[in-house]
């Protein structure tokens, strides 16, 4: 099982204190964890699962503004003292996660400085991701954005193969289905991906990286740097 890296980076004691409140759950593809404007009941630390943060606009169109996998937590508003989610959180890669109640989380968060630091740092990274997405949506072509999105998903799922529908992709990228079909067949023609009946396989990851806009490499570099920094800064023992 792939562990959540935020939890794995905690000092042993902090992690042990957290354990009683954590429940191992399986998130299913298509599950909605939060609706915009609704109270947050639980937070989730994804293991193999991947969760999309979507903003709903004009009552129907959706757009993905962030992607959370094993590097993060779903429920960041709680770490910032706010108990309502502004976004819809949708499971787009089924798999394992650790779940914790909002009340349990609040208590653990107040008691553990390492957890607070880790989550604030992660929230800052998530803001970088949102920033990048806003700019990317404005300037980059849909093929390049699709390539970026597939790579980001792969990094979080930890696999070259995952399930996806075109309708789902159209929400993620904020374009019409026709646009997605076009972009996907373009990537397929270039032998970068194989797409069949809702299953997507990345055939040539290096080629896909070349086809993606620079946003992918930038977000990734920053995340690596952040992780490097957090490893260096750790002063006490490490779990594992």
């Amino acid at each position: 099982m792939q562990a959540n890296r935020l939890l794995a980076a905690l000092p042993r004691k902090s992690y042990r204190d957290l354990l009683p409140g954590l429940a191992a759950v399986t998130l299913e593809f298509g599950d909605v964890l939060y609706e915009p404007g609704a109270r947050i009941r639980d937070v989730y630390f994804p293991g193999r699962s991947v969760v999309s943060l979507l903003t709903v606009v004009d009552g129907h169109s959706e757009l993905e503004v962030g992607l959370v996998g094993c590097e993060g937590m779903v429920g960041i508003p709680l770490a910032l003292g706010v108990d309502v989610s502004p976004v819809r959180a949708l499971v787009q890669g089924g798999g394992a996660a650790m779940q914790m109640s909002a009340a349990g989380f609040r208590q653990a968060f107040n008691a553990s400085a390492p957890l607070r630091h880790g989550l604030h740092r992660y929230a800052h990274g998530l803001m970088a991701q949102i920033t990048q997405t806003a700019a990317c949506n404005r300037f980059h072509r849909v093929e390049a954005r699709l390539a970026r999105w597939l790579l980001m998903t792969r990094d979080r799922v930890g696999s070259d193969q995952f399930r996806l529908t075109q309708e789902f992709l159209s929400h993620m990228l904020g374009v019409r289905r026709v646009g997605v079909t076009h972009a996907a067949s373009d990537l397929q023609r270039r032998r970068l991906i194989e797409y069949e009946r809702g299953n997507i396989r990345l055939v040539d990851a290096a080629g896909l990286e070349a086809a993606a806009c620079s946003c992918y490499a930038l977000v990734r570099q920053r995340a690596d740097k952040r992780r490097g920094a957090s490893v260096r800064k750790r002063t006490y023992g490490r779990r594992q």
């Binding site: 903003t55 004009d58 803001m127 990048q132 300037f139 620079s214």
Partner: protein, 212 residues
């Protein structure tokens, strides 16, 4: 804080946190080819430089003064200390951070889904809420950089709003003539962000200054 001053550059380390009083700071994302787009604006409701207490060190955006005026600045180390030692300060700064996230998120969506004239309405309203006057000093070229569109796009959108009697545009100055109409015209993004700011930062008096 004079117009055009770079409060910090993307990727650069920050030494200070800035609290605008009557100035407005724009957070811009600049692409490798120089194209830019505004991600959020901050006036006297907030601060610029959250990386310093969030622990992210550097930031992908560039912060530029968009409307000159006064502001306080506090050394990063001082604020960080306060953030760690005072629950109240921490609470306040983090709530502002969540409000800022909402603004960024909504901008991402607005960039994707809404017409330039609606985005211009949103941008003007966000500015008006922070300048306490009905006038915004700004060239079309700068607005184009903010919205991440070509200048002609801004000229066309501003022309439309002017023809409808909502604004008056002359030489680097936009005067809003009919704010209610502007609010009727804007996309939902303005309302979503405003509501969230009002809710999350409700303890802040309209003229700035946190109530104790």
């Amino acid at each position: 804080m004079p117009l055009g001053m770079a409060v910090y550059e993307s990727g650069g380390a920050q030494g200070f946190v800035y609290f605008p009083i009557d100035s407005i700071v724009s957070l811009l994302y600049v692409l490798e080819d120089g194209a830019s787009t505004e991600i959020a604006v901050t006036g006297n409701e907030g601060l610029v430089g959250i990386s310093l207490f969030m622990g992210g060190e550097t930031t992908p955006s560039r912060a530029v003064v968009q409307s000159g005026g006064q502001g306080y600045r506090v050394r990063g180390a001082v604020l960080r200390k306060l953030f760690e030692s005072s629950g109240e300060v921490q609470h306040l700064l983090l709530r502002f951070t969540q409000a800022l996230i909402t603004q960024m998120t909504q901008t991402a969506v607005c960039n994707r889904h809404h017409a330039v004239d609606q985005q211009l309405c949103r941008w003007l309203l966000l500015m008006l809420d922070r300048v306490s006057s009905n006038e915004v000093r700004m060239t079309q070229e700068l607005i184009a950089n903010m919205l991440g569109v070509r200048r002609e796009g801004v000229t066309e959108a501003a022309g439309k709003l002017q023809a409808e009697g909502l604004i008056e545009y002359q030489r680097g100055r936009i005067t809003v003539l009919d704010r209610p109409q502007l609010e009727a015209r804007v996309c939902e993004c303005y309302g979503v962000v405003k509501k969230e700011y009002d809710r999350l930062l409700s303890w802040i008096a309209p003229q700035g200054g946190a109530s104790n």
